[in-house]
């Protein structure tokens, strides 16, 4: 019940991020330093902790997740972490060293998908959207939610970074965006891309704070404003090589 305590802004704002965004945030850190907003970056590698840390006040903001992830987390923990700004969206893509299109998948082929909740859901949705499988109509389906698998595909869940590396072992790999970028998989080489639509809102990445009240926090607004700039867009383009699209 300490949801209002954040009106008091600490001198240094701790922002929890994933390592993939370090350069973007370091730049923002630099820019804001001039405006006397001190940011300390806390890097996470695991997707659950940054929200817990935010909830506990160990950090004040985090920027690593999309709306869906945040909502799921809030629901599970009965909390009210709030998105105070959008960052970008990175679509899921399918890659393959063996086939040119998902339609070329044959009976018994293997497809690797990320093993974390949202990415796995999106990956399965991508397959479903291409009519390869059918899944239950849930927000983030898992392999247990597959209702029809005509091709008898073997769907292998891997660490998200491993999907890109599994290309030699599988017939197709569904790779989430930041991994694809890091692995130098060119967006152009994808054999299928997640469609961006209204339905994509859950997958838009956001900057999250502890409560709705934080939306009004001047410092936080400054940070959001600093992110939602052309400069950031350029950096995103530079570092993500066009793989992500600014979403503000």
């Amino acid at each position: 019940g300490s949801n209002k305590s954040t009106t008091q802004t600490p001198k240094t704002v701790k922002v929890g991020i994933m390592s993939t965004d370090v350069e973007i945030w370091k730049d923002i850190q630099k820019r804001l330093a001039k405006e006397d907003v001190k940011i300390k970056l806390v890097q996470f590698t695991e997707y659950n902790t940054p929200n817990q840390a935010l909830q506990d006040g160990d950090i004040q903001l985090n920027s690593f997740q999309h709306n869906d992830f945040l909502n799921t987390w809030n629901k599970k923990h009965n909390e009210k972490l709030t998105a105070i700004g959008n960052t970008y969206i990175g679509p899921m893509r399918a890659f393959s060293n063996k086939i040119k299109s998902l339609k070329d998948l044959k009976k018994g082929d293997t497809v690797s998908v990320p093993n974390d909740v949202s990415n796995e859901g999106r990956a399965l949705d991508l397959l479903a959207a291409n009519g390869i499988i059918k899944v239950k109509d849930v927000a983030t389906p898992t392999i247990h939610d597959i209702t029809e698998n005509k091709l008898d595909l073997k769907i292998t869940e891997l660490d998200s970074a491993q999907t890109a590396r599994s290309l030699n072992d599988v017939d197709a790999a569904i790779v989430n965006n930041d991994i694809a970028v890091a692995a130098n998989l060119k967006p152009a080489d994808a054999i299928s891309v997640e469609k961006l639509s209204a339905k994509s809102k859950p997958w838009i990445n956001i900057i999250a704070a502890k409560s709705a009240a934080d939306k009004k926090n001047k410092t936080y607004q400054k940070i959001v404003k600093a992110y939602e700039t052309k400069r950031t867009a350029k950096l995103l383009k530079k570092y993500y090589k066009g793989a992500v699209i600014p979403a503000w």
Binding site: N48, T72, H144, R165, S166, D169, V170
Partner: protein, 228 residues
């Protein structure tokens, strides 16, 4: 049935099937067994050679000892999670695939062997040198001394460190999910923890506990039999 459904709402649907509980148990057993087997043999071999080639050993040989010792240290130094990741190309070379439980075996074996080898070395060093000397005086070859003295006199100690190592392996298999190895540990994390399905975590943990206790129990049984 109802109580079970209530207590384990998320477990029931994934009891069988790909990535389900039964499959995970199988994967954990598979990975643990083969890692124990291969790393066991390799670890004992390397451990023995470490003992034989050290300064007080039967085949004292500084350069060989130095190299073995350093190799063991290097592989022990690499955190398993990194091993799992960076070994991927090598794994593909050996077992033909980079994903799945069999692919997980390669980093598991490479991560376990040096650890076990060091333990074997420590275990064998506790054997009374007088006994080794007696065997030497009888004209036994180093190989015979290894089999008939070291491995025999050190057996109960070897079983103890073996149990310790197998339990460590079970811990390591939990990370094998990264390369699609599956297993109970992965189930607990990827499904139970990440999806907030606590019942899955608990069930996976209970099976791991049962496995660990079984191994410890069998180990203790053998060790006790050998204690005179």
């Amino acid at each position: 049935m109802n109580i079970i459904e209530k207590l384990f709402p998320n477990v029931i649907p994934i009891w069988t099937g790909d990535g389900g509980v039964t499959q995970s148990i199988g994967q954990t057993l598979y990975m643990t067994f083969f890692t124990a087997l291969i790393a066991g043999v390799l670890g004992i071999l390397i451990g023995i050679f470490l003992v034989l080639t050290d300064d007080h050993g039967l085949l004292a040989n500084r350069p060989v000892y130095w190299i073995l010792d350093k190799i063991v240290n290097i592989f022990r130094a690499i955190p398993f999670i990194i091993l799992l990741a960076v070994l991927n190309p090598f794994t593909r070379l050996i077992v033909g695939t980079g994903i799945g439980p069999t692919a997980a075996l390669v980093p598991l074996v490479l991560g376990t062997t040096p650890f076990f080898a060091r333990q074997v070395q420590n275990a064998l060093l506790t054997i009374d040198p007088g006994v080794i000397e007696a065997a030497e005086a009888m004209g036994l070859s180093p190989a015979a001394i290894v089999f008939r003295v070291y491995l025999r006199e050190g057996l109960s100690e070897l079983i103890r460190v073996g149990v310790l190592t197998i339990i460590s392996v079970i811990g390591l298999t939990a990370m094998a999910g990264a390369v699609g190895g599956g297993g109970l540990g992965n189930l607990a994390i990827a499904v139970g923890y990440q999806r907030f399905q606590n019942d899955v975590t608990w069930v996976a943990m209970i099976f791991i506990l049962i496995l660990v206790f079984l191994i410890q129990f069998i180990g203790d049984l053998f060790a006790k039999r050998l204690h005179h």
